[in-house]
Subunit: 453 residues, 2 copies
Amino acid sequence: MVVGGDAAGMSAASQARRMKGPDDLEIIAFERGHFSSFSACGIPYWVGGDVSDRDQLIARSPEEHRERGIDLRMRTEVTELDVAGGRVRSRDLESGAEAWTSYDKLVIATGARPVRPPLPGIDAPGVHGVQTLDDGQALIDTLNRTEGRRAVVIGAGYIGVEMAEALINRGYEVTVVNRGREPMSTLDPDMGRLVHDAMEGLGITMVNDAEVTKILTGEEGRVRAVVTQDTEYPADVVVLGIGVRPETALAEAAGLPLGEHGGLLTDLAMRVRGHENIWAGGDCVEVLDLVSGRERHIALGTHANKHGQVIGSNVGGGYATFPGVVGTAVSKVCALEIARTGLREKDAHRAGLRFETVTIESTSRAGYYPNAAPMTVKMLAELRTGRLLGVQIVGREGAGKRVDIAAVALTTGMTVEQMTALDLGYAPPFSPVWDPILVAARKAVTAVRKTTH
Amino acid sequence: MVVGGDAAGMSAASQARRMKGPDDLEIIAFERGHFSSFSACGIPYWVGGDVSDRDQLIARSPEEHRERGIDLRMRTEVTELDVAGGRVRSRDLESGAEAWTSYDKLVIATGARPVRPPLPGIDAPGVHGVQTLDDGQALIDTLNRTEGRRAVVIGAGYIGVEMAEALINRGYEVTVVNRGREPMSTLDPDMGRLVHDAMEGLGITMVNDAEVTKILTGEEGRVRAVVTQDTEYPADVVVLGIGVRPETALAEAAGLPLGEHGGLLTDLAMRVRGHENIWAGGDCVEVLDLVSGRERHIALGTHANKHGQVIGSNVGGGYATFPGVVGTAVSKVCALEIARTGLREKDAHRAGLRFETVTIESTSRAGYYPNAAPMTVKMLAELRTGRLLGVQIVGREGAGKRVDIAAVALTTGMTVEQMTALDLGYAPPFSPVWDPILVAARKAVTAVRKTTH
């Protein structure tokens, strides 16, 4: 039995079905929404017009799942987990009918819910989240019928900056209101500043250190402005991109173990700790950060799919594990590419690590090659061991996915000295003769060596 | 004393100078050509017009080296190494004057020479190599004054395909005549076939299994056609891209150790084996392939720069090593990107390895994202251990540099099973939710598992 019909849940169901046919394994999945297996990460590009059709974001429809022998019950919300009794209570959201259903094995994939602070006016028409396809459609409908061209995005993380791009692409005047010191708090502030400057260069008004206190409404109760501690920003539409939290109310009520970030805690096979027949994956769990050795909460489709794969294999009688993450993420705002992996300075401090940081400027291609675009790479390396701890990249075309080099190096515990010898792809259209990652590694080697420790 | 003033030699000289000032270390470098520290890899893009000016390909001029305290003697050819006597004989190519000069430490960086088969007509006007800046200038001069628009490229390796692009960009009708079964013999033939088809799609005539027997000349002795065992191809200009061999005649005459590919053999500190005070690096040495455990010859600027860095550190009294390569290479022909790392099937056989191969089709971005471009990934994994052995990629924008993920995985000896859990950067503009490398790794896991061994 699967609770939640999106990436993690339906990947688990599909993988379990691949391993065992309908005669050996019955699979029931509950989904409270209208859609299954959709790409939430794609919503900004649908809103922005890069993706023309909602259905392109749906990897597999409920009908397709059913054809594969999965009893997927849409618009059916699970309202209680009875772990001791091995059953769940669900409600059909159309009819209101409730029922208890028994399980032998349970997969919890309830996802995440967007942070929605209890601000005056936050529920006004014209204020939109972008978590679900329904959210995306509602926002697009608002954009299509709004005459004003002023948009305010609250939050400057991945969703915030991607929505800023989407709104710019639709011709809006965009203001991004951000509580942090710089946008992209998943980067160190010095790298976030580069994002700030580049976004301003795109004509986006960036406001940092801003606490939103309320949302003002005007005629017909529609949103009119976003008010912060300092001033107010006129708005014809407001998009919330404040982040998400694990959706674990059901699990918590059932007494399942939650971590410090509110996510379910699992073992390496994605089994909920202490529960032999319950698995959990996707945005509702915490994952092990392989660099810091601590749990984190990261809502990202690529992890959810991997979790589902692992859970499905185990539920289906096979064996698979999810060893953990290194915290890789990549995003873009128009031509600006933003990437990170591993620890930021504050993560490393928190983990008790001592380290050096270096920052270098290079280009994505050989300097003499057309469209060689500048990129900045920041690298953290541990003192004494010289182990790579993290990389942050801000640049243009070809910059972002270079973070994968560092992601593999982090996974395998490479030192920056070892990284300087990496045999990376070189040709003038692809890289300078020293790839920017190698340039940063060389500088990091020198920095670690110079430090007395 | 440095013999050869290009990437490896001048990197060594520069790094040694950084470590020791002119009072502690005298540095003399001999270069027989007109240029120092230039990017041979950039020549196709200069010929094709992407790079407008030859000087952009020069990383550092002789004057700049001299300002940094390196006595760089241009147009001076070393004609003999007297290893027992610790001296070299050189000839000033302008004056013809010869001299012996003593050294305490010697760096051999004599590079590679292009293969130039002794075919009738190969020295005719209109037949060009593209090894040096002088070669590039001569070819550009020929192109500028040739009225005919038919070009034949002999050889379909990196230089051949890059030159095909350059000539297409200049409006030529291009024929690539290739001795092998498919172009890009650094790939397996099934992947080379994809390159073949894509190049034909660009309007390039691709001829495989073709042995050039002679080059015909016409009026004023200029090239007129390239003749193979089967037919003849009219040509107003011919470019040779047949590959290079280590330039080790001097070293061989001096009794220094050469490997089976004709390159100098060094230890991990890039010291010539058995010679305490002689180092060698760049295109004239063989390098250890970390996957097969055997020596290879790879002429590539990025290795030459690393060698120079290591040699300069050691000569300057420090300590550095070059652990070896995994054989990463990336190239492009117009929008087609071609990359490889590790072993091809025949390399793996030769190394005594048993393995499975898988090939997958994916896209560089999420399928629904604009310009999601198809890419093909082939992966080799060892039986029993499941260790990654090699990856080959043919695709469009964003395909090529993904090979770096595999390069790091190879360097650290990852298994394909471990690779399936890699935390690679995901967002719709950058990758499908399963990066193509992960898709290939998953398929490779299944293939290795299924095999009885």
